[in-house]
């Protein structure tokens, strides 16, 4: 009998706040695939690449603490946000490669009775589906092929760059200059993957408040690229990219001088649709850019 896949789920903050549909659809898909997710209820925010600008050491300690709780459950940590993935994987990478730093962090963790050992792997739910569950097995589970849709994959920076971290966290690293995981997933689910220049580019999320013009241009160009490639909708594994593309189309449209609104689905929602989950299980009503095809 196949071994049941079990992961310690690091939800991150966004799935618990501004993208509730991402958490719902993660659980819906996991259930369909027989994947067990144990939520890391003790986990804190990863700092989203900003806390480390303010206090790098504190960011390391907090991320190491999160990993400790996956370790204590003896599980691989699975993330559902590209930025959580990056910050956690980067912490692991730095601690595993710098004994002195690891000792300094562990000195702090010891104060609350924890120790970072480095025994848990870290992966993103996208790669758990592709690498661990397997696309072949997934294909057998498809009940509603997405054949009538042109789907634009939007990878999001922090899953594909820096590639040295991917080598560590999930075996089959994709090339940031020509990534293929989401494309393969779309094809497996019976959809048509569209190619466009911006698919591996930045959505601008992390500079939204500090550099709104730059951020809006990036968002606008990404939406425009997908529209010009004739996409019916976009799909992303990152809730932050989702938020930027789903909610900021108006500013983005002004920046690029065009109306650039289109549905942006979470990777889990796309998988769920093909597996026969209902729109309400997938939270499809929680989108600002309406998902109007279901």
């Amino acid at each position: 009998m196949e071994k049941k896949l079990t992961y310690a789920l690091f939800t991150g903050c966004t799935a618990k706040e501004s993208t509730p549909e991402q958490l719902m659809s993660t659980y819906a898909v996991a259930e369909k695939l027989g994947i067990e997710l144990v939520e890391l209820s003790e986990a804190t925010c990863c700092g989203a690449s900003h806390l480390q600008d303010y206090d790098d050491f504190l960011s390391l300690v907090l991320n190491a603490r999160n990993i400790c709780y996956a370790e204590s459950r003896g599980m691989t940590m699975v993330t559902i946000c590209n930025t959580c993935q990056l910050n956690t994987a980067m912490t692991k990478h730095r601690l595993d490669n710098d004994p002195e730093l690891k000792a300094r962090v562990n000195e702090k963790l010891a104060e609350v009775g924890l120790e970072y050992k480095g025994t848990s792997e870290i992966t993103h739910f996208l790669y758990a589906i592709i690498d661990d569950f397997g696309l072949e097995t997934l294909k057998e589970k498809v009940v509603t092929p997405l054949s009538q849709f042109n789907i634009a994959p939007f990878y999001g920076c922090h899953n594909i760059r820096p590639s040295e971290l991917q080598n560590e966290t999930h075996g089959k690293a994709e090339n940031p200059y020509n990534p293929n995981s989401l494309d393969d997933l779309i094809v497996t689910l019976g959809g048509v993957n569209v190619d466009y220049e911006e698919k591996n580019k930045c959505c601008g999320f992390h500079a939204e408040l500090q550099a709104p013009k730059t951020a809006a241009l990036l968002t606008g160009k990404a939406l425009m690229g997908a529209m010009d490639a004739n996409a019916d909708w976009m799909v992303t594994p990152c809730p932050l990219c989702h938020l930027k593309l789903d909610t900021q189309y108006e500013h983005a449209g002004h920046a690029v001088g065009r109306d650039v609104k289109m549905p942006v689905l979470h990777m889990q929602q796309m998988v769920g649709l093909a597996l026969g989950c209902t729109p309400s299980e997938l939270g499809l009503k929680h989108h600002v850019s309406k998902v109007n095809f279901v």
């Binding site: 003790e42 804190t44 303010y54 907090l62 702090k108 104060e111 760059r161 580019k201 500079a207 600002v288």
Partner: protein, 326 residues
């Protein structure tokens, strides 16, 4: 013994001469490429065998001068280092050769790098100190002190990161990854005395480190593993450590994370925006989008804010592990 193989590759080559052309065009050239070749071999063969007017830069042929940097299918490469086989494996048999920046093209692969050098100059990329003109002994730096440069001094000024940076592409004031790496290199030098001056420059809104969108393109593309975004993070840290952080939306955005985590474990997203922007600007800038998000259930009310388990533990760690104040 390795066997040399050949493949037919279709190259779309960017052609443009600023002196005579109004618009650039792409020329299609088919070539047999051997598994031994690097991109520079192809550029040479285009010039020698196809069209003598084809122009590009190269000098050292050893990956140390940075002159030969171009883009192949959008990927920034040092032509003399990049193996054709790797590119074919990555992109297939149709390859587009372009200069690093199309809008700065002068002739074919040659670009005007003036903006790059200006940005470089802007950060004072030299050692600043009162120098004794007739020293009696060498001014030695220990290996440990040298290690603090984090290999920022390996930069060969090729411009690959600069012309791959989306922040710079969309905002010409942005100083950019290579110049930031240079700023860090001198700030990290124990002999230098101009850290605060450089921090003033890299801390300024619109041009400084706060405009980095954190895409990691610069780390990915750098052929010398300078890792510019790591240096950008270090500059952010130096701004706080040296107490020169300006109280503005960018710095409050970073600090806001610490506040939220202390209170909830998780990030209070709405409160972060309020804390960073201030209540009135927040409503003016984000009110409309916020309302749309609220309508579809994308906003958590303060009284429903989720919290991490074992919050006391988080608070204790923040208290004992914090290294800076704002």
């Amino acid at each position: 013994m390795t066997t040399i193989t050949t493949q037919t590759i279709t190259f779309n080559v960017f052609r443009f001469n600023a002196e005579t052309d109004y618009l650039p065009h792409y020329k299609t050239i088919e070539m047999e490429v051997t598994s031994e070749e690097v991109v520079l071999d192809i550029l040479n063969r285009i010039k020698w065998d196809v069209d003598g007017s084809f122009s590009y830069r190269r000098s050292c042929r050893h990956g140390i001068c940075g002159a030969c940097a171009i883009k192949v299918n959008g990927k920034g490469v040092l032509a003399c280092k990049e193996r054709m086989n790797d590119l074919i494996e990555l992109f297939g048999t149709e390859l587009t050769l372009e200069p690093l920046s199309i809008k700065r093209a002068v002739k074919d692969m040659i670009i005007d790098k003036e903006d790059f050098w200006k940005k470089h100059e802007q950060v004072k990329p030299y050692l600043i100190d009162e120098i004794d003109e007739h020293p009696e002994s060498e001014n030695l730096v220990t290996p440990k002190e040298e290690a603090q440069l984090l290999e920022a001094d390996y930069c060969i000024q090729c411009g690959l990161c600069h012309y791959s940076c989306p922040s710079l592409e969309n905002n010409e004031s942005y100083i950019g990854p290579a110049a930031f790496a240079a700023a860090y290199r001198f700030n990290a030098d124990v002999r230098d005395k101009a850290t605060l001056d450089r921090l003033d420059i890299v801390n300024a809104p619109d041009q400084g480190v706060w405009d980095c969108v954190k895409c990691f393109e610069c780390q990915e593309v750098c052929p010398k593993e300078v890792n510019p975004i790591e240096k950008i993070t270090k500059l952010h840290n130096q701004v706080f450590e040296n107490g020169v952080a300006i109280n503005n939306v960018a710095t409050r955005h970073a600090v806001g994370f610490a506040h939220s985590i202390k209170k909830h474990g998780l990030l209070d997203e709405a409160e972060l925006v309020r804390y960073s922007e201030g209540t009135v600007p927040m409503l003016m800038k984000h009110g409309k989008v916020g309302f749309k998000m609220f309508k579809v259930g994308k906003v958590v009310m303060p009284w429903n804010m989720p919290k991490s388990d074992k919050l006391d533990e988080v608070k204790a760690l923040i208290k004992s592990s914090s290294t800076v104040k704002f």
